[in-house]
Symmetry: C2
Subunit: 332 residues, 2 copies
């Protein structure tokens, strides 16, 4: 880890969460010092269902305008911080909202969507998902959609995609992409975490990794210690460079188990749930139980030797630079 002498951003960004939002959750975010979140507005929804979710967010923005605003640019993060609010950025964890119509990419961007995963666990029209047994890479339509996202300034997120699709997306995209919520496979071997080859290619292209705090992505699960987590961050900084790192907690605070069952199963299977293997949200680690606990991560990063500037970058400064570079239209 090298100390990067630079002005501290002072911002904290969580680049992926899907809580059951309410005034209480917004106050948790403020208590945790969070200035901006990227939240998911679609997992399996089609276009019109996604619009309905945006309408619900517009109701939250109207009801809680003192606490939240709809973030669309990097400058909105700074504005939210200056005004004591939280900038909420919209993202799609699947390409289901664009259905089979490339014209819907621009419509979604106009509606404020700034991230889209090319697939969610399963094969999509654009790319393979990480739970498919085979991954043939980016499809014909996928290549077209990547170019369109590049043109508009919508970030390609490959958190739930297969390895080959992810490597091809990094290669095909003219702009840096993101894995907003995952950890290194070398630390904890689950399908959702990413191999070093992927992380190196991501970093080399100027892309970003958001570390996940979802227990299934953590070594020792819900029992993962803060120090273990922060030591993993340090090793990843050695691999990718500290400037390529941020947080993408995957926090689903307040969501009932039916939500995780729907995330996993959508409407693509008729297989009944197995009572012997209940699908529920696992308990969060004690040191990251809610949005109030972001300061614990900063403290843990300091204990494993990160400098104040590095910690500022991981906690939000790196995502802020990425947001500033990514959300505008393509140059030239």
């Amino acid at each position: 880890m090298t100390d990067r002498p630079e002005k501290l951003s002072g911002v904290v960004i969580d680049c992926l969460q899907y809580c059951k939002y309410s005034e209480a959750v917004f106050r948790d975010l403020k208590a945790g010092g969070v200035d901006a979140i990227h939240t998911t507005i679609a997992y399996h929804e089609d276009f019109q269902e996604t619009v309905a979710n945006i309408i619900r967010w517009n109701e939250l923005f109207a009801a809680h305008g003192d606490l939240v605003l709809h973030g669309k640019t990097g400058a909105d993060v700074r504005r939210a911080k200056a005004e004591g609010r939280i900038a909420v950025f919209f993202g799609l964890q699947n390409c289901s909202p664009i259905e089979d119509d490339i014209g819907l990419v621009e419509i979604c961007h106009t509606l404020g969507v700034r991230f889209m995963q090319l697939s969610y666990n399963n094969q999509s029209l654009l790319a393979s998902g990480c739970y498919e047994s085979e991954d043939a890479g980016i499809t014909r339509m996928g290549r077209e959609v990547i170019a369109e996202m590049n043109r508009l300034g919508m970030v390609i997120d490959m958190s739930h995609s297969g390895e080959r699709s992810t490597l091809e997306a990094i290669e095909l995209s003219r702009r840096p992409i993101a894995v907003t919520h995952a950890n290194p496979l070398s630390w904890h071997k689950v399908v959702r975490n990413k191999a070093d080859t992927v992380l190196k290619a991501l970093a080399a292209s100027g892309g970003m990794l958001g570390f996940s705090l979802y227990p299934h992505h953590l070594k020792n699960g819900s029992s993962c210690a803060l120090t273990e987590f922060c030591e993993m961050v340090a090793r990843t900084a050695d691999l990718m460079g500290v400037a390529r790192l941020g947080i993408g907690s995957d926090l689903c605070h307040g969501q009932p188990k039916e939500v995780v069952q729907w995330m996993r199963r959508g409407t693509w299977t008729k297989e009944p749930l197995d009572p012997a293997n209940p699908v529920v949200f696992p308990p969060q680690p004690a040191w990251f139980a809610s949005n109030r606990d972001f300061p614990n991560i900063a403290t843990g990063l300091a204990k494993v030797g990160f400098s104040p500037a590095e910690i500022d970058g991981i906690m939000g400064g790196n995502w802020l630079r990425f947001f500033e570079a990514s959300f505008g239209g393509a140059k030239g």
Copy 2:
């Protein structure tokens, strides 16, 4: 070719066409001696757009009940023949009508859909398309949907799918599948035609091949001679057995060029049409210009040495047996 002593079915079936239907086309079909057709009711449509297409067919059935009926079983072919009408069977050339919801398979079957392609040229949620550069086979959702189609009695059609996906569909399906409209790749090398390995696996599993009369699938295109075509049928009978063969003309009589442009491009690409390479329907061979010309095929088959029983099978009897075995619910 072995002569199969059996009672002649006397029926003529075209197991794939997409004409611009009207009383005139129905009268062409009668003049050509056709008793049943499988027609496409969706290429890129979602569920509700497909329902709108069924509503348009219901209007045709109501207006021309003396000429056509909605076919749902093999018995409907015999009934149509007895009543001097044409049984019209519905099929989907893509899985777009079931969107991402496996529950829509049963809904479509209830609405009378009897065939569904797992993909159309491009990658779908279920399988790869023949124009993708890579084919990873049947997806997680694809396996579930194959089982559901098997249960209900909806035929898996792989005419526009990739080779690996097709071989895996043959393997995974508990019931015989179909390639309703394609020719052997060994006769005319285009992406849409099928390799001998595929045709052999199809035949071995009790599946059916419908010979296409779309000029791009024919050796020498629009200039293909009837004898050339019928000699190809004879060679395919040697490869697959004559009982596995039928016609799936892919006739698009009366459709304007905008339809073939939409078939190719749907809404998945922003690439403009290339004026140097106009996308239009090619002229049909002189001996198969419309639905009136089915008797020419029977005549041609006789000239290359097929027996009356074999010709009866290829012209419709083989499809009829396949319909009778395929459209009911799974046994046991």
